[in-house]
Symmetry: none
Subunit: 217 residues, 4 copies
């Protein structure tokens, strides 16, 4: 990233502007090159096509986000596992410790989102027409397993295989909504500090929602 050719940087900068203003589909490579003071040929030296150019703007941040998700949501379910070993009502426990672990994860994610704020905004709002147009759902799919595990434990269900259609549906929704929270914060807070502040209230909402579901029926 740092030692990229000057030309490539100019191209990416111009592309950023154009994609941000018009979205992927309406963006014009001609405009981008004109803005960058280059010809279309130059663009095709660095990028294989329009989508590759878009990719270059969000690739690194997206990789990091994926890595963070791997770390936080997939590899470890230590909190839950630990608790499951003991003889406590899981919901009470989670409440007792205030979901401290989950809050820490959330803070990490928010930090990452704001580090590459513009890229993520681009990815989330201007990618229609690229392979990322369903990026929200793609991310939801990635975290769904994590929340399934959490749900199973909190509900005291023996195995994933015993989950009803209704369980699965609500788990999918809650996963979706968790992602929606992050996106909402990214798109509506003007900086990380404000985001972390609002995050506290959002967590009250999400946790409340979870308990609403877990205690239902």
């Amino acid at each position: 990233m740092e030692n990229e050719k000057e030309t490539k940087k100019k191209l990416k900068k111009a592309a950023f502007k154009e994609f941000s203003e018009k979205g992927f589909m309406k963006a014009s490579l001609r405009n981008i090159c004109k803005e960058a003071g280059l010809t279309t040929g130059a663009l095709y030296f660095f990028f294989s096509d329009k989508e590759d150019l878009f990719d270059s703007l969000i690739e690194e941040p997206l990789k990091k986000l994926n890595a963070a998700i791997e770390n936080h949501f997939i590899e470890e379910m230590s909190t839950s596992k630990k608790m499951a070993g003991e003889n406590l009502n899981i919901a009470e426990m989670a409440a007792a410790q205030g979901f401290e672990d989950d809050k820490a994860i959330a803070r990490d994610i928010v930090h990452l989102l704001f580090e590459y704020r513009e890229s993520f905004e681009l990815l989330l709002t201007k990618a229609q027409g690229t392979r990322y147009e369903n990026i929200r759902d793609m991310i939801v799919d990635k975290v769904e397993d994590h929340y399934t595990g959490l749900y199973v434990m909190m509900k005291g269900i023996e195995s994933h295989k015993k989950l009803s259609k209704e369980d699965k549906f609500i788990i999918h929704w809650m996963s979706h909504d968790q992602i929606e929270v992050f996106i909402h914060i990214l798109l509506h807070c003007k900086n990380e500090k404000e985001a972390l502040n609002q995050m506290e209230y959002m967590i009250d909402y999400i946790v409340g929602g979870w308990f609403g579901v877990i205690n239902s029926k």
Copy 2:
């Protein structure tokens, strides 16, 4: 709608297919006309332009949805008002009666969504490039006042003017999320029956979220 000319119907059907497959922007009027077995000129006899054609597919359902929103969220806040007249804790009351009014509203909306299911799916997922590309936000804006009123009462705040930045942010989020619930149901349930079933669980989540927020701090 019912006594439309055969040709117009063919055109709309073909348009539905094309828009659904490719989205508004990538849809080709030529394809639509070919599919309908007509020339492009014929299309322009019935519709003034590409967007007018798209409009025709979602106009009526959207009008009805807007009307429903007006009726349910804007004109009446009877539940809240009734309660406000008495000397009770509003949150307790709402909980006591199980948010029956809100549930009734939700059922109505769901019914409407599934009555024109395909149109709403089109509107919500394929409208980029039309004036409806921000339809989600447009609807959120419409219901936000309603939820602001609800929030003020449940929190026991004197006036809308006393709302903090954080209050406003979380109200906006909760309004947004309420709409998101409906959209999620529309896009993930295969029919109204299933939707109404899932709706119950979603309401537990939403109500839990609200209490999480209201009781916070």
Copy 3:
């Protein structure tokens, strides 16, 4: 004209507006019919095509103009002939009687032009794309013989056959310019009265020009 069908009149009125605003080529039959509150089919009942519609707006005035030209410039060359019989310097004679006959002709033409003012304006400024796009030249050709006769006499040339290339050129120009005078008046005077007033000065110019040419060399 008077007992035309109401529909036809509406069509012609709307056509007048559209042709006047956009010129023949850019005018749209669809617009005309819409403006008239009719369908294109109706138009084609009364008119065979776009040009026929245009024609209908200028046909009668143009016929009358042609007739006036026949009468004044072609049939009669009485003044000149009379004079030619006598033994006088024709130029002096013409000057002496102040070109009274020609002035009378001019007044007649001006009267006609202003009687159908709008039609002639249409014909002269909005006909590009019709068979009248060279109407100026067509009229010039009609009056050229008359001026050739006048020239021959004033110059004392024996026969039309003795006219040099230069003579013919200047005759053509003077014929052209005479028409240009009428057009200029039509397009720049707001009514007939003003036109007749300005006409006096224009005649001074034209007569001066003729003497300049006749006395040259």
Copy 4:
């Protein structure tokens, strides 16, 4: 102009042909490209749109014409000024010296017109639909001040502000007619030599016309 790419030249040549045959509005870019053996995309590499293509054919000549007009009609009014300084009847003087200055100007203009003959013909007869469709009037407006000055002096009027409506009308006409002379020569003479020859007679006419007006009443 000279070191233009072969392709661009082919395009301009084909455009010249098409515009000359059909006029700007009826000309088809497809035809032009076909004639040039290229695709429409190629055209848009060299020209920004249809009008830009037309412009390219008349731009340089028109610039030179405008410059010539600036030089001759606007900056200098030396003849008049010189004379105004002395105590002579301006009309007599102008006549005495045979309008030599004005004749020189006319020769210059004619030379220019014939240097770019085809371009000027295009501009004057095929520009309807472009921003040059009123080019005649635009040029008249440019020279009118010059002739106003001349008129004021020849008539012995104190100031421009004392000009009557009739004065202004006849000045406008004479300016218009002067331009018409040049156009007539351009469109009716087959080369510059013939044009300069005919010009002599035209000047007799114009000068005669001026005296007719100046000495009137």
